[in-house]
Amino acid sequence: MPVTTIDGHTIHVDDEGFMTDYDEWDEQLASTLAGQIGVELTDEHWKALHFLRTDFREKGETPTLRRVSVSAGIPTKTLFALFPAKPAKKMAYVAGLPKPRGCV
C-alpha cells in the first residue's frame, strides 16, 4: 500500500488515492481531500460524510448512493449537487473510506 503525506498527515492509500486505514482520517484531512477534488465542505456535505463514516463502522462496507439517500435522508439529486458527477466515489474519497464496491 502506498504511503503519502497530505497536509502534514501521513496516510495509507490505494492506487487511486482512496484511504485504506479508517483511523487515519480526521475532519481537517477531509477538508483538504475535498479541496483536491474541487469541493468546499458545507453542513450538508458533513451530514453525508458523517453518515458514511458511521455506516462503514457498523457495516464494514462503503454505503451506496441509494443507501445514503434512504438511510440518511439526503436525496440522490442533492448528493449529485454536493459531489458533482461521481458522488459515490467522491464521498468515499473525502470520507476516507474504500472506493465503493460495484457488485459484479
Partner: protein, 414 residues
C-alpha cells in the same frame, strides 16, 4: 419434532429443501416450503424469448413437482416474519412456527421505483426482459422494430444476472444484422457502472465487444426519471438519452415481507455473514440466493454454489457444532454474444473474471472470457442440468469453491 421453514421455492429454496430432506431425519425434522404460486421459471431462458428462440411456456414448470417427497409445500403470501417469536404469518392469518428459517424469496424488478417508467409507455416503447411477461411483450415489439434508436439500460445495481443486459445487446445486434436492419438502428448501452462491467479485465474485454458491434457505451449513467412523451432517459447529472425502443432493467429489490418484518436493508435484502449466510440479527435465520445481501452477483450460480456450502454447515449448526465451511462468493456465468457463440466467466469475492479454461485446467472444454461455440452449447445444455440435476439436489461435477488452476493471472496486471 423440529421445524425448518423455507420461504421461496426458487433455485436456492428448492435445492436447499431437497438436499436437506435427504440429510435430516424424517422422524425429527419437518421441512415446509412456502411460495406464493406454483410456477417455477427457468429464468436464464428469458433472454432468448424476445428473439423467438425460446417458447415462453417451455420455461415454466410446477414448483411442488420439484420438491422431494417429505417436503410440505404451502401456497401462500408471507405477511410477516416475527423473528423474535420464531414464527411466520401468512396473509389470511395462517401461522407457521419454526426452529430454523431460510429466507430464499429472491429479488424482483420494480419499474414503479423510477418516475416515468411504468406509465403509458410501459410495454409500448419501454420494456423489461427479466420477467416472462416482459420478455414475451418485447418479442412482439422487436418484430415490429425496423429503424430508430434502441437503448439497453440498467437502472441501478445490484440486478439479477448482471451480464444479462450485455447479452441482450449482443443478441439484439446479431438479430438485427441477420434481418439486414442493423444499419438502420442506432444502439446505446447505458449503465450506472463506470464501464461495460465492474471488474477491469472483463470490463475491458466486454467493452471492446460493444465497440466492435458499434454499440455506444454511456457509462456512469444513473437514471433519475424517464420522460415517456419525449422518450428520454434523464440522469441525476442531467444527461439525456433519447430512445425509440427502451429495454431496461428496472431497480431490483428483495421481497416486501422482508421489509415489513424489519429484516432487510434499503433494498429489502437480508444482511448475512457473507461466508456462512447466517442472518447478522438472528442466529436461527439464514438467507440464501438473491434474498441475501452478499457482495456479489444475484445469479443462479451464486445460489447453487452457496447452497452446496450451506447444507453441510447447517447440519453442523443444528447439531450444536461450529460451522466449518466458508462460502467464497464463487459464481460462473455464460454470456451469450450472438451467432451461437458465448463467453464464460468464473470468479469469486476476491478474484475477478480472468481468461483461461474451465472446468478442467488447460483442457476445458469451455473457454473463459473468450467467444466460442462450445460455451454457447454449454449454456443451452444447462437448462437440462437445471431441471434434472440441480433442482433435485443431485451432485453436479463442478467445484463449489473457485479454483485458480487454468486461469491466466498475468492478465490482471495487463
Amino acid at each position: 419434532m423440529r421445524d425448518l421453514v423455507i420461504l421461496g421455492a426458487g433455485t436456492a429454496g428448492t435445492m436447499a429443501a431437497n438436499k436437506l430432506r435427504r440429510k435430516l431425519d424424517r422422524n425429527d425434522w419437518r421441512i415446509t416450503v412456502v411460495d406464493r404460486d406454483d410456477e417455477h421459471h427457468y429464468q436464464p431462458g428469458y433472454l432468448f424469448v424476445p428473439f423467438g428462440r425460446q417458447d415462453p411456456a417451455g420455461l415454466v414448470r410446477s414448483r411442488h413437482a420439484f420438491l422431494a417427497d417429505g417436503v410440505r409445500f404451502v401456497t401462500g403470501e408471507v405477511d410477516e416474519v416475527q423473528a423474535e417469536d420464531s414464527k411466520v404469518r401468512l396473509v389470511g392469518g395462517q401461522e407457521l412456527g419454526y426452529d430454523y428459517l431460510v429466507i430464499a424469496s429472491g429479488t424482483s424488478p420494480r419499474p414503479s421505483e423510477t418516475p416515468g417508467m411504468e406509465g403509458a409507455a410501459w410495454r409500448r416503447s419501454i420494456f423489461d426482459f427479466f420477467t416472462l411477461d416482459g420478455a414475451t411483450a418485447l418479442r412482439e415489439a422487436l418484430n415490429g422494430f425496423d429503424h430508430g434508436r434502441l437503448v439497453v439500460h440498467t437502472t441501478d445495481i445490484p440486478i439479477k444476472c448482471p451480464v444479462a443486459p450485455l447479452e441482450f445487446s449482443f443478441l439484439a445486434d446479431a438479430w438485427l444484422r441477420d434481418r439486414g436492419l442493423r444499419d438502420r438502428v442506432e444502439m446505446v448501452f447505458a449503465t450506472p457502472l463506470p464501464g461495460a462491467f465492474t471488474k477491469p479485465v472483463a470490463s475491458s474485454r466486454l467493452g471492446n465487444m460493444l465497440d466492435e458491434r458499434k454499440i455506444a457505451l454511456e457509462a456512469d449513467f444513473l437514471v433519475e426519471r424517464i420522460d415517456p412523451e419525449t422518450r428520454t432517459l434523464v440522469s441525476y447529472d442531467e444527461r439525456e438519452i433519447a430512445f425509440d425502443l427502451l429495454v431496461t432493467v428496472p431497480l431490483n429489490m428483495g421481497a416486501d415481507f422482508v421489509a415489513r418484518s424489519g429484516l432487510g436493508d434499503e433494498l429489502n435484502y437480508v444482511p448475512v455473514d457473507k461466508h456462512t449466510l447466517r442472518s447478522k440479527a438472528h442466529d436461527n435465520v439464514f438467507a440464501l440466493g438473491d434474498a441475501a445481501d452478499l457482495p456479489t452477483s444475484k445469479a443462479g450460480s451464486v445460489a447453487h454454489f452457496s447452497v452446496e456450502m450451506f447444507v453441510p454447515n447447517f447440519l453442523e449448526h443444528v447439531a450444536g457444532r461450529p460451522m466449518t465451511r466458508s462460502f467464497d462468493g464463487h459464481a460462473n456465468c455464460f454470456i451469450e454474444s450472438g451467432h451461437d457463440k458465448a463467453l464464460l466467466i468464473d470468479f469469486n469475492y476476491d478474484v475477478e473474471p480472468l481468461p483461461g479454461r474451465f472446468p478442467v485446467p488447460r483442457l476445458g472444454p469451455l473457454s473463459l472470457l473468450e467467444e466460442t461455440r462450445m460455451n454457447h452449447l454449454g449454456k443451452l445444455a444447462f437448462q437440462w442440468i437445471y431441471w434434472n440435476a440441480l433442482l433435485p439436489g443431485r451432485p453436479i461435477p463442478l467445484p463449489t469453491a473457485m479454483s485458480m488452476a487454468g486461469k491466466h493471472l498475468e492478465m490482471q496486471e495487463a
